[in-house]
């Protein structure tokens, strides 16, 4: 890939939360790059650290309660070295964020227009009129039919889909280079979801932005993502282009996820069930493959002690060597544990 | 029908005892235990709890040994006796009556009023709030109108009027009069929580399980707002200890033969007493403050342990 387009580089980032006075890693040693003009999807089960990664990039964590290490290189600056004011120069301006719950993410007492133009107050010196015009333009851009009217309304007067569009409008108001969308469609209907994803894609094309799309819906990923990072228990376990991940998934976790999806092919069969649960932060194994307990039939020897990423194809990386000889029990022919 | 289950499960009557035992070993501690361990962890809270319980017990037992009519006899020679003497540890009041003894009996009376009032008004308020919050329609509408009406009544005025009407009023009637007005806060609080709680699916689940309304209200919803109830009760208890003081000050309090913290604090209505005869009112005032602070501290802990069990809910 073109390294020049490589404007965000996450190097070895770990984020730990303080629980009962001790720090536990919610994400550990994440390495990731985001390019212009691409949608990078991050998928994984609930609690695997997707949101934590997003909020770490945005610098939204309380310094006293979290410990963040590593480096986030954004267009040559290490974001993690910035103070609050320095961060504010980036937030909203160069990095926009879209949240999951569109109702609570908007201030219930402010009109839509004020909430959108607030971003511009801090990052542009547009006149009042110019801001107003820009608000209408943005609302139009995210597919709101009557921008004039919506601008004057309050969040509770809008439907869920419209609210999510407003949030997108806020996120893109200053044409950021990076947009982080944390489950932007989970709360929405399929039809609206499709529309929102369209809007996201259009915006990305228009602004040449890079988008980090966080979701746990593999369908959404398959439809929109250029590249995919699969996360499990705070680690990226597989990273590659959408084609690579969906057509030739390697990591047992990715393969299990795909298998547990109801699809035309398995219409009448039982679905595949991944054994066990995602470990909680406090119970995270300190070494070895974190997914190993959930595929107990794979011999321990197949796993690395300190699993690292292995490139299986250009741009396609997989954590741990266990992928090499992983098979589902029913495909194995009797080698059940 | 039972066979139906037998067919599909390996569990049979033979396993019952063993499985029950296994389950018991894994059983989650009850809320009471959680609260207790919270207290054990928090030393000041423990101290507060000991103060409250110890004090109440001391006062209740102590009052038994004091002959109230005798105590309330005037002793002219001891008129405003200084405190810290062998006869009068805490001095004497204008009637030469021992402040220390009055404090004990008065505390008993005031705490009795507080307990009675809290019991009556909270029970009533809780039931009212639960019922009005659970049912919608005419029941709720009617109850709300009555509630609105009660809210309109100027409380202090109404109490004063009632106090003047009741011919032989004493701590029991006083408690009852107060109860007429003191359920409103509780009922509002409970109602709003009940409304929220009734929306939850577990209530619907109970209804589809054939549980009747009353059981749902008192066995399903009420336990879920129990932390709120506990906290509300502790706080109103704290508030109720001093509830008659204001009335006593205005001259509508308990009869002088029935000492209470209120009648004692009301000694402060005379600025002379404030400075010169401080022992006639200060101990009672201090007692109220210490008791109330302790109770609110305990309330804090209760609230915290209630929160804690809610917090556990979000950690899977």
């Amino acid at each position: 890939m073109d390294t020049a387009a490589n404007f965000l580089t996450i190097k070895d980032v770990s984020t730990a939360f303080k629980i009962n006075g001790q720090f536990y890693d919610a994400i550990s040693h994440v390495n990731l790059q985001v390019h212009h003009d691409e949608i990078l999807a991050i998928v994984g089960e609930s609690g695997c650290g997707k949101s934590t990664l997003a909020t770490t990039i945005m610098g939204l964590h309380d310094a006293a309660e979290t410990k963040i290490t590593g480096e986030i290189d954004f267009e040559g600056t290490d974001l993690l070295q910035l103070d609050e004011d320095g961060y504010n120069q980036y937030r909203g301006d160069k990095i926009g964020m879209i949240f999951q719950d569109p109702l609570s993410a908007l201030n219930p007492l402010k009109r839509i227009e004020d909430q959108i133009s607030e971003v511009m107050d801090y990052h542009t010196d547009l006149s009042k009129d110019a801001k107003h015009a820009r608000v209408l333009e943005l609302l139009d851009q995210v597919g709101i039919v009557n921008p004039q009217r919506t601008a004057r309304q309050f969040p509770h007067e809008l439907s869920g889909g419209m609210r999510q569009r407003v949030i997108i409008a806020i996120a893109i108001a200053c044409k950021p280079d990076l947009i982080i969308a944390d489950e932007p469609t989970t709360a929405l209907d399929v039809t609206i979801q499709a529309q929102i994803l369209d809007v996201l894609r259009d915006i990305q094309k228009e602004n040449h932005a890079g988008i980090i799309l966080i979701t746990h819906d593999l369908g959404v990923v398959a439809e929109t993502a250029d590249r995919v990072a699969v996360m499990y228990a705070g680690q990226i376990v597989e990273l590659g282009s959408a084609e690579q991940v969906f057509n030739t998934p390697e990591h047992p976790y990715t393969r299990s996820l795909l298998r547990s999806m109801p699809q035309r092919e398995n219409e009448n069969d039982d679905l595949y069930v991944i054994k066990g649960n995602v470990p909680s932060l406090q119970k995270m194994p300190s070494q070895g493959d974190r997914f190993a307990p959930r595929i107990p039939w794979v011999p321990a020897s197949a796993h690395e002690e300190h699993p690292s990423m292995h490139e299986v194809a250009p741009g396609h990386e997989v954590r741990c060597t266990c992928y090499k000889n992983f098979q589902f029990p029913d495909q194995q022919g009797g080698v059940t544990a | 029908m039972a066979e139906n289950f037998e067919q599909h499960s390996d569990v049979s009557a033979a396993d019952l005892a063993r499985l029950t035992q296994e389950a018991q070993a894994e059983a989650t501690p009850s809320t009471a235990k959680i609260i207790w361990s919270e207290f054990k962890a928090d030393k000041p809270a423990m101290a507060a709890l000991i103060i409250i319980v110890g004090f109440i017990v001391f006062v209740m037992i102590g009052a038994l040994f004091i002959n109230t009519p005798k105590m309330m006899e005037t002793n002219i020679m001891a008129y405003f006796n200084q405190p810290f003497t062998s006869d009068f540890w805490l001095g004497a009041d204008s009637g030469g009556r021992s402040v220390a003894k009055q404090l004990i009996v008065g505390s008993r009376n005031s705490i009795g009023i507080a307990i009675g009032l809290t019991a009556i008004s909270s029970t009533f308020g809780i039931c009212w709030g639960l019922i009005s919050g659970y049912f919608n329609g005419y029941i709720d509408w009617g109850m709300q109108r009555i509630y609105d009406f009660m809210m309109m009544l100027p409380m202090t005025m109404m109490i004063i009027v009632l106090v003047t009407i009741i011919p032989h009023y004493n701590s029991v009637t006083l408690t009852l009069i107060f109860s007429i007005f003191y359920w409103e806060g509780t009922s509002r609080l409970i109602r709003s929580r009940t409304l929220a709680e009734s929306e939850k699916d577990y209530v619907a689940a109970s209804r589809t399980s054939g549980t009747n309304h009353w059981k749902i209200i008192f066995r399903e919803i009420m336990p879920n707002i129990s932390s709120l109830i506990i906290v509300d009760c502790t706080l109103s208890f704290a508030e109720n200890i001093g509830v008659e003081t204001g009335l006593s000050y205005l001259g509508f309090g308990l009869p002088s033969q029935t000492p209470s913290l209120g009648t004692m604090i009301a000694n402060a209505n005379d600025p002379n007493n404030i400075t010169q005869y401080w022992w006639t009112w200060l101990p009672a005032a201090l007692e109220i403050i210490i008791l109330c602070l302790s109770i609110s501290y305990v309330g804090q802990v209760l609230r915290r342990s209630a929160d804690a069990s809610q917090r556990q809910g979000s950690i899977n």
């Binding site: - | 006899e73 005037t74 002088s256 033969q257 005379d270």
Partner: protein
């Protein structure tokens, strides 16, 4: 309760242990600037705002009288130290025993504070207001019926009071009152036949009498005949005054007077912090206050015996509503004189007064307060503590402890429980009442509070005023008396205020004697009063409780203070020696 041995009373009657003088002889020189510009600041201790009725005819309470006192209250007559009417006031009075008339003649230069003349009609108008059918005044009493035509006017039959005439016209200076009888009481101010104040007829004539009490003329801009005129009333709170240039008497010497109502809880602190020159004489300060104020720097305590007394009443009968007379019941619980006496002897009134009264109150020995120095029977013994005597009296009368009981039963052997009615008041009073019960218990009488506790004032009086009641057997109460001490209205056969219903031929006769023809002779009248006192003391149906001082702390910057009744120019005699309070 171990005070039984300390019987401290003197053998002969009682006197205040404390001697207070009604005057404060300040020898300091008056500072000129003080006279010119400063304000005399007075406090009126009272728990509620005053009501603001400046008119003595309409108002019944002391606060109103007090805050409007510098205006002179429209008072007609000057008096001597026995409240006997003398010449030299706004008007002079002549009684004609033969013609049965009283002639009242105004001073030549008697003027209202607005400059208009005081007229004969102004003397008559109070009677109209008092007796009017629609009046709000509470002052009308049967005694007024001795004025000719008054009853007819009162019932509305007559338009005017025929018995009051104006020899030189309504605008003149003389009014003559025609009576069906004249009594010696009329010689004294405060009697219940001749009204003692004037009303500014011209000023208020357009206000319907029913509305008078709420009118501007009475509340906001009243006019007066006294030394000072009203500048401003702050409703319920204060009045301010300045000299009345139309005043007929001695020229007032102080530029401004302000009178503020101060809650009785706060009065001690207010005086201690030097906020007021003195409390309005006539207002009430208690014994507990005295303790706080007696040693305050820059204040001198003045005082004189109050026009009031505390007493014990025994319920011995009922009021017959048909004949409108009180009737004694021979069989009533308290009918036995020995019982009543014994109960009085059992009380330690001296000790109680000493402890709670701080010298401001003392045990009363009779039912006429000592301010009436002429009538007061200083030799009366009253009821000092004497437990032995009480026990003996009871035992002799057959009240014995039977069957090992703790309590005495009545002579017929029945259980005896006596109910004591007392009003809820200060904590000191509560302690006193409690003490009385204890004392009675000591002589074996089972006395209990009616209803188990002290009674709220309203319930107390409404119980007592029932024609027949049995819930109160003995009660403690107080009377404030008029400056004319004839006790008929309180203890007469047809007096509704005779709440113990004690009646006897002798009593009626003794009281009649006080105002009989012979009583025009002062010595005879004095003798009659003393005899009555002796009789009442002996009967103990109404027994004296305590007397008290009416006392006032006076700031030492004040000069010319004399609260005695003979000082008819109280307000104009006052002056200040410095411009600010000390």
């Amino acid at each position: 309760a171990c005070s039984s041995k300390s019987s401290s009373s003197s053998e002969n009657g009682t006197t205040a242990s404390l001697k207070l003088s009604p005057t404060f002889n300040n020898k300091k020189a008056t500072n000129a600037s003080a006279t010119k510009n400063s304000t005399l600041k007075l406090a009126e201790p009272n728990d509620s705002p005053f009501q603001g009725i400046s008119d003595q005819v309409l108002s019944t309470n002391q606060e109103d009288a007090d805050v409007f006192a510098p205006g002179g209250g429209g008072s007609l007559f000057n008096v001597d130290k026995n409240y006997k009417i003398i010449d030299g006031g706004l008007a002079n009075q002549r009684i004609n025993r033969k013609a049965k008339t009283v002639t009242i003649t105004l001073q030549k230069d008697a003027k209202w504070s607005n400059g208009s003349k005081v007229t004969a009609k102004d003397i008559e108008y109070p009677y109209e207001v008092i007796a009017n059918k629609n009046t709000t005044s509470q002052q009308y009493s049967a005694d007024f019926n001795t004025i000719k035509g008054m009853a007819a006017y009162h019932t509305g039959k007559a338009k005017t009071i025929s018995g009051i005439t104006f020899p030189d016209g309504e605008k003149g200076r003389t009014a003559v009152i025609h009576l069906t009888k004249v009594t010696p009481a009329m010689k004294y101010s405060g009697n219940s036949f001749i009204w003692g104040t004037v009303e500014p007829y011209e000023y208020i004539k357009n206000v319907p009498i029913a509305k008078l009490a709420s009118s501007k003329q009475v509340r906001k801009n009243p006019i007066f005949t006294g030394a000072y005129k009203l500048d401003k009333v702050v409703e319920g709170e204060s009045t301010t005054w300045s000299p009345n240039k139309y005043y007929y008497g001695k020229t007032p010497q102080i530029k401004h007077i302000s009178i503020n109502v101060v809650s009785s809880n706060n009065i001690d602190k207010a005086i201690q912090s030097g906020k007021y020159d003195f409390t309005v004489p006539g207002s009430v300060l208690h014994g507990t206050d005295y303790k706080e104020l007696k040693n305050v720097k820059n204040y001198k305590i003045t005082g004189q015996p109050a026009l009031s007394y505390d007493y014990f009443g025994f319920n011995v009968g009922h009021y017959d509503t048909k004949t409108q007379k009180n009737v004694m019941d021979k069989n009533s619980k308290m009918a036995n004189k020995s019982l009543r006496q014994a109960m009085m002897y059992a009380l330690n009134l001296d000790a109680v007064s000493k402890k709670f009264g701080n010298g401001i109150t003392w045990r009363a020995n009779t039912l006429i307060p000592p301010i009436f120095s002429k009538y007061y029977d200083s030799s009366a013994k009253g009821y000092p503590l004497n437990i032995k005597k009480a026990d003996k009296l009871l035992t002799d009368a057959g009240y014995k402890k039977r069957n090992g009981s703790k309590w005495r039963s009545d002579p017929s052997g029945k259980k005896l429980t006596i109910y004591f009615g007392a009003m809820t008041g200060t904590s000191a009073q509560a302690a006193e009442y409690q003490d009385y019960l204890q004392q009675w218990h000591k002589v074996g009488l089972n006395v209990q509070f009616t209803g188990g506790k002290t009674m709220e004032m309203n319930s107390f009086y409404s119980t007592l005023q029932k024609p027949k009641q049995s819930s109160i057997d003995v009660y403690a109460a107080a009377w404030g008396v008029s400056s004319e001490p004839t006790p008929t209205q309180l203890y007469g056969e047809d007096a509704t205020y005779n709440m113990g219903h004690f009646v006897s031929k002798k009593n009626t006769q003794l009281m009649n004697e006080m105002n009989s023809d012979k009583a025009w002779n002062d010595t005879y009248r004095t003798k009659a009063f003393k005899q009555w006192q002796k009789y009442m003391n002996e009967q103990a149906a109404v027994a004296p409780g305590s007397f008290s001082y009416n006392w006032v702390p006076v700031n030492t910057r004040v000069k010319g203070f004399d609260m005695g009744p003979a000082n008819n120019s109280f307000w104009s005699n006052l002056s200040l020696t410095s411009s600010s309070l000390k």
